[in-house]
């Protein structure tokens, strides 16, 4: 016990110094940060949303939505391919039932040609060499395209990847600071935005698919048919809540429209005539040309501006719009116009996202929690420190110094890992302090016991440390097991708790066993005590 090698003293001191140094930036008050030298470590601990205030939103995309969208795209692609084939291939009886695309080739002799044309429209998916669609010919003239599992997985993956990008763009456009946007699992996205005042606006923005379409209004549909939900062939019925004619739905042509993904810009502005909020959009070259053609061919007919399956407005085409830009009106407020502009600029979501979990904490509650948590933590810690000194005297002082160093060390390691401190995390702190105290209690009680059994001072201390270490080790391993499982299965604040617990257990045991041992050894060497007051 007396020969505590110098290299050990030095390395323990170095580790402690490093830990304390890492902890400093997190402890500095906000104003003092600028006086802090820049060559020292800058990492600080993140505050969890429950402490800083903010919103945590879990978004989920529906795989069925992706599959349906994909099927629709396939139908359009196949139709276009058959139409532009030379000679043109006539197809009919197209159905998307059961998640499959099936159609009849009118001329049996063209079946093989049609098959040849479709093959390049599919592609490989996954690692097994599977294709994303299976092509079959049934009853000599019917072609059936079935999406494969690998193809669907790939499509979902791509859709979620794009969706994550779109979400990121939209949140950046909102001008929020330090958002965290992470894809989670197969079809989820976690969005965390600290210090947000109005989570509702964020949810509205993210909930908007922002799929903009321009379609011609089918004027042949009679009001009775529309009311009964019967659309003429080649048309569909779309809800129109702001219809001046009493909010009734209208029928639009399914094909021949333009999608709003061909935009280069979108801005909220005001209509110079009516002074109503509108959204001005600018098409890209291809979109602009198609828009010009659509408006040229249909002058004096109404067309519908459809957003996420609802008609916004159905203005008349008074004259061809050739400039590649247009104005969308539709009973907007300034806010909703702005929101739509952001959504259009950042692109449409390839899949509708639903908010499946939301946790918002107001900044006031967060500040209150952190304050009360810190006060309670401080009171608890001080009480424990005093109690230790009263019970173990000099050894209690050593344990206390180790305890304070331990707290700094935990903060330092957390800063180094950029870990997040949550409210349960503060409770975790208290617990690790408990673990550190327990280790010291075990050691000191054992030393007392060995002294009582008549061992000499140095021997008693030596045996006390070695015998107690075994139980300390076993007891804390089980705590680590619990903490790891918490981390693996937990979410949000609970994870924050597990992180503190994992770091804390390691540093607690280390400071409680090695650091106090160093103090005791140095003391023994210097003072050579004849009595042990423990």
């Amino acid at each position: 016990m007396l020969d505590f090698p110098r290299w050990k003293t030095i390395s323990i001191s170095l580790i402690l110094a490093f830990g304390v140094l890492m902890a400093i930036p997190s402890l500095l008050p906000a104003g003092a940060a600028k006086y802090y030298p820049s060559f020292l470590p800058q990492e600080t601990i993140n505050l969890g949303l429950d402490l800083s205030g903010g919103s945590h939103i879990l978004l989920e995309g529906d795989p069925r939505d992706v599959a349906a969208q994909r099927l629709q795209n396939m139908e359009e692609t196949v139709r276009a391919a058959m139409r532009s084939a030379k000679p043109r291939i006539g197809i009919g009886d197209i159905s998307r039932e059961g998640g499959k695309l099936s159609f009849l080739v009118r001329d049996v002799s063209q079946v093989d040609a049609a098959r040849e044309l479709i093959l390049p429209l599919t592609s490989g998916a996954g690692l097994t060499g599977q294709r994303d669609w299976d092509i079959e010919v049934r009853d000599t003239s019917r072609i059936v395209l079935t999406p494969t599992e690998a193809g669907l997985t790939q499509a979902l993956d791509q859709a979620m990847e794009t969706a994550t990008e779109v979400v990121r763009k939209r949140i950046d456009e909102m001008g929020t600071r330090e958002p965290t946007i992470i894809r989670q699992g197969d079809n989820r996205i976690v969005v965390q935005v600290p210090g947000l005042d109005d989570p509702q606006a964020l949810k509205d923005l993210l909930g908007q698919t922002a799929e903009l379409e321009f379609k011609l209004v089918d004027q042949t549909a009679s009001p009775e048919d529309i009311a009964a939900g019967r659309a003429p062939v080649g048309s569909e019925i779309v809800p129109y809540p702001t219809n001046p004619a009493g909010g009734t739905p209208i029928a639009v042509r399914r094909l021949g429209g333009i999608r709003g993904d061909k935009l280069t810009n979108a801005q909220a502005s005001f209509d110079p005539q009516t002074n109503e909020p509108v959204v001005s959009i600018t098409f890209d070259r291809d979109g602009g040309a198609r828009f010009a053609r659509l408006t040229q061919e249909n002058v004096n007919k109404p067309f519908a501006i459809i957003l996420d399956g609802e008609v916004l407005s159905a203005p008349n085409i008074n004259e061809p719009i050739l400039g590649g830009s247009a104005q969308i009106s539709g009973s907007f407020t300034t806010e909703s116009a702005n929101q739509l502009a952001i959504a259009l600029r950042s692109g449409a979501l390839p899949v509708e996202l639903k908010v499946v979990e939301e946790r918002s904490v107001g900044p006031d509650l967060g500040a209150e929690s952190i304050q009360l948590g810190l006060i309670a933590g401080a009171v608890g810690t001080i009480a424990v420190l005093v109690f230790m000194v009263l019970t173990y005297g000099r050894f209690g002082v050593y344990a206390d110094i180790a305890l304070v160093l331990n707290i700094l060390l935990i903060l330092g390691v957390m800063a180094l890992m950029n870990a997040t401190l949550t409210l349960p995390g503060i409770a975790g702190f208290v617990l690790t302090i408990g673990a550190a105290v327990d280790a010291n209690v075990l050691i000191n009680e054992r030393i007392r016991e060995e002294r009582k059994n008549g061992r000499r001072i140095i021997q008693a201390i030596e045996v006390g440390y070695t015998e107690a270490s075994r139980a300390i080790f076993d007891a804390n391993i089980t705590n680590v097991i619990a903490a790891v499982l918490l981390f693996l299965f937990g979410s949000g604040p609970v994870r924050g708790f597990a992180v503190v617990l994992m770091i804390g257990i390691v540093t607690s045991v280390w400071t409680a066993v090695y650091v106090t041992r160093m103090f005791v050894a140095l003391w023994l060497k210097r003072d050579r005590p004849r009595e042990l007051n423990i």
Partner: protein, 324 residues
């Protein structure tokens, strides 16, 4: 300086004399807890049943106008709602079932409630402090993973103890843990405190904590089994418990001090969490002595349990010592 000594030296309590009675009490309280959970049920938070919880603080009044608020929310006709105080007397949480998995509907409900509160209770300084809404699907997942983490933790820990000690110790520890978890569940059924994700964290901590106690006693039992080969098991367990008693009391007391600080002045949001841990402190302490130890006796642990581990070198050393 005269040092504080909470437990006198050389205590000789015959703890295990009451083991049959204690075991009876333990089993009864486990059954009572399970019955309580079955009859009263747990007050599951939105984390586990889905729904939404809106937290409101009334800044300008000392006490939240719960009755009025309840009437006003019922008037909105949004289905069943629960209004509870939490933390300070001027803080309440409003919980509602989700209208469905439809995002728009859920948002609409949240907005109607929050705008009603901020408008009608402006005079009382109403402030929306937080909104938690969890869909049915996510809450189911949270429940499953929560249960998994509890079960896995208990099994993993029992296996670890089996490796470090003997299988009997693993079984005894597992029963002690089951006891602690069951009682905590019973406590939540009895008090109807909200059972949420944080409580799962508290449960795992209780497990870890109770195990601390159990292992410290087991470690001493193992040591004494090697030391006193002829002592009968009951006396040996009593001796081990007495020898570690000072530590048990000291550690529990320091933990209690820290937890009481959190419980009494800490933020209301984690009240349930700290309450669970405070309870676990006592239950864990009790179960280490009165659940784990008697099971060791009944599973036939004795000095022979550790004989195979004595190596030839140990024997030689023992002979030498006898010669001295």
């Amino acid at each position: 300086m005269k040092l504080l000594r909470l437990v006198p030296d050389n205590t000789n309590f015959r703890f295990l004399r009451w083991r049959h009675i204690a075991m009876g009490i333990s089993i009864l309280s486990i059954i009572a807890s399970l019955v309580l959970v079955g009859v009263r049920g747990l007050n599951l938070g939105v984390d586990f049943v889905g729904g939404q919880m809106i937290q409101v603080t009334f800044d300008k009044v000392a006490e939240a106008p719960v009755a009025e608020l309840r009437e006003d929310i019922e008037a909105l006709n949004l289905g069943e709602s629960t209004i509870q105080r939490f933390g300070q007397p001027n803080q309440v949480s409003v919980r509602m079932r989700l209208a469905g998995d439809n995002t728009d509907e859920v948002n609409a409900v949240t907005q109607r409630v929050t705008s009603m509160i901020t408008k009608e209770y402006a005079a009382q300084g109403a402030r929306i402090d937080g909104v938690d809404s969890v869909s049915g699907k996510v809450s189911e997942e949270l429940l499953t993973t929560g249960v998994y983490s509890l079960v896995f933790a208990m099994i993993a820990i029992a296996v670890y103890i089996w490796f470090r000690f003997e299988w009997q110790f693993g079984v005894a520890a597992l029963f002690a843990l089951f006891h602690d978890v069951a009682i905590t569940f019973g406590f939540f059924a009895l008090t109807q405190l909200e059972f949420n994700l944080n409580i799962i964290a508290a449960l795992l901590t209780i497990i870890g904590y109770s195990l601390n106690d159990t292992i410290v006693v087991f470690d001493r039992v193992r040591e004494n089994l090697r030391k006193y080969r002829k002592m009968d098991m009951i006396s040996l367990l009593d001796l081990s418990t007495n020898e570690t008693l000072a530590r048990t009391v000291m550690t529990s007391l320091t933990m209690l001090i820290a937890l009481l600080a959190l419980l009494l002045i800490g933020p209301g949001v984690i009240f349930g969490f700290t309450a669970a841990m405070t309870l676990g402190l006592f239950v864990g302490c009790y179960s280490s002595i009165y659940m784990a130890n008697p099971i060791l006796v009944w599973l036939g642990v004795g000095p022979h349990s550790f004989v195979p581990q004595q190596t030839e070198a140990d024997k030689a050393e023992a002979k030498l010592k006898e010669g001295l």
